[in-house]
Symmetry: C2
Subunit: 249 residues, 2 copies
C-alpha cells in the first residue's frame, strides 16, 4: 500500500448540498466531528452552496463529480430540498423548485454519482423541518419591521420534499436520513435544534453528525474498518524505519 509503485490516495467523503452543508465546516458544524472521525482514513470534503436549489446544483454536478475522475468519492451525502421547498408567491419564490423537478434532480444526482463510481455509497438527507415562527422572527431580524409576517416556507410543504427524498432514495436503492422527522422527535426542536427556524444549532449539527456516521457505519464505511494512511508511529523500527514503508498491501 505504501510502495512507491502504488500511490496511496486517501479516500474522500463529499458533502454536497446547500447552506446546511456549507455551514457543516463551521466550528460547530456537523462536518467537523465527521472529518475528525475519519482522521488519517478519509478526507471529508465540503461542497455546500448556500441558497442553492437542486436545480441550480445541477450545473455544478459535472464539475464537482467529473465522470473521468480516477479518484471518485467513496461516499457522498446529497442534502437539498430546504430551498426547493420555498413557496411560490412568498419572499423566496425564486428558489422554488416544483416537487417533480426536485425528484428528477435527485435521480440525476444519484445516476451521475453511480456513473462516477458504482460502489460509491450515496446518502440522501431530507431537509430539516421548518419552524415557521422562527422564520418570521429571522426575517424581521434581518430585514426589519417591513419583513413579511408570512413565512417563505412551511413545515408541511417541506415535509412533502422530505417524503420526495425518501421516495427517490428507496426507488434508487441508496441510503437516506429522514432528518425532517428525526428533528421533530426532540421536544423543543423548534429552537433547540434550529436557530432561525431552518438552520441548525450546535445540537442540531450534532444530531446530523450522529445520523450520518450511523449510516456510513451501516454502509460498511466505519472508520475502524478503514486502514490508516501510513503506519502508526509505534510500528516504526527507529533503526530501520524504511521497513515500515515497504508494505505492499
Amino acid at each position: 500500500m505504501w510502495s512507491s509503485a502504488k500511490r496511496m490516495v486517501r479516500p474522500k467523503i463529499v458533502l454536497f448540498g446547500d447552506s446546511i452543508t456549507e455551514q457543516a465546516i463551521r466550528p460547530n458544524g456537523w462536518g467537523v466531528p465527521l472529518a475528525n472521525a475519519y482522521s488519517r482514513r478519509a478526507d471529508v470534503i465540503c461542497r455546500g452552496y448556500g441558497g442553492y436549489t437542486s436545480s441550480w446544483a445541477m450545473f455544478l454536478l459535472p464539475q464537482l463529480f467529473p465522470l473521468d475522475s480516477t479518484e471518485p468519492p467513496i461516499a457522498t451525502t446529497i442534502f437539498f430540498g430546504a430551498n426547493d421547498a420555498a413557496l411560490l408567491g412568498r419572499s423566496s419564490e425564486r428558489q422554488h423548485v416544483p416537487i417533480e423537478e426536485f425528484k428528477d434532480n435527485l435521480r440525476t444526482f444519484v445516476l451521475h454519482l453511480k456513473e462516477c463510481s458504482p460502489t460509491m455509497q450515496i446518502v440522501i438527507i431530507t431537509p430539516p423541518p421548518i419552524y415557521e415562527e422562527g422564520r418570521v422572527a429571522y426575517a424581521i431580524s434581518a430585514h426589519g419591521e417591513s419583513a413579511s409576517r408570512i413565512p417563505e416556507r412551511t413545515n408541511e410543504v417541506t415535509g412533502q420534499y422530505a417524503d420526495a427524498c425518501i421516495e427517490v432514495a428507496k426507488e434508487m436503492c441508496v441510503w437516506y436520513i429522514n432528518l425532517w422527522s428525526k428533528v421533530q422527535d426532540t421536544d423543543g426542536w423548534q429552537t433547540k435544534l434550529l436557530r432561525d427556524g431552518l438552520h441548525l444549532t450546535t445540537e442540531g449539527n450534532t444530531l446530523v453528525y450522529e445520523e450520518v456516521i450511523k449510516v456510513l457505519n451501516e454502509a460498511g464505511l466505519s472508520a475502524d474498518s478503514m486502514s490508516m494512511d501510513f503506519p502508526h508511529h509505534s510500528k516504526i523500527d527507529y533503526k530501520h524505519p524504511e521497513l515500515a514503508f515497504q508494505k505492499n498491501d
Copy 2:
C-alpha cells in the same frame, strides 16, 4: 471559470506535520477555523501524523506531494520538530533526530514542495515550547507511578529545534511562525496554551490558527482575495440560471 471546457478545481492548503497537525481537525483544533475561513475558496487538507519525526515523514513526501500532480497545493504548512527534539537517553529517544539531520529534512521538504509548485507558499511552524513539569505529570497519568520523573523533552532543546526551523526558513526564503516564542509570550502559557506540556489547549489552537491565517494573508492568500467557487446564489437569475454558470473567467 465555470465553463465546461475549463474544470473548476478548488485550491488546496495542506497541513503537513506531526500530532499537533493531526489534532488540527479535532473539533477545537486550529485547522477547523482555518477550513471555515476558506469556505468555498480552498480546501484545507490535514496530513498530520502523530509521533512522526521529520525523518519518518521523509518517506511520506513523494506520496503526499507527488511531483507529477496537476493540482499541487497553493500553500503548505510544515510543522515538525516536537518529536525530533526528544532527547537521547530518555523515554522517547527512538524519536530523536539530530538537529543537523532535522535541518536537512526541512530543506528537503521545502525543495520538494518547490519542485511540486514553484509558486506554493510554504510556512514552517516551529514546535511549541515544552512545559517540562506538564510532561512528567502526563507521563504519570499515562503510565502510572512507575513513569520517569525526568521529562523526555526539555524546553531548552526544543528551542534549539525552533531556531533551526527559523534558520532554514530564512535560508530558503519561506515563511515561518516562531510558535516556540509566541506561546511563551502569554502569561501562564504552561497550562493555558498547552494541555500536557506539549499539545495545544483550545486557546493554544486558537493562537496557531491566528498565526497561520496572518501569514497566509501576508503571503497574498487571504480568503477575500480568492474567488468563491461558483456564483453566490443571489447572482443567479432564476428565470435563466444557466447564464450564471457560463462565465469564462
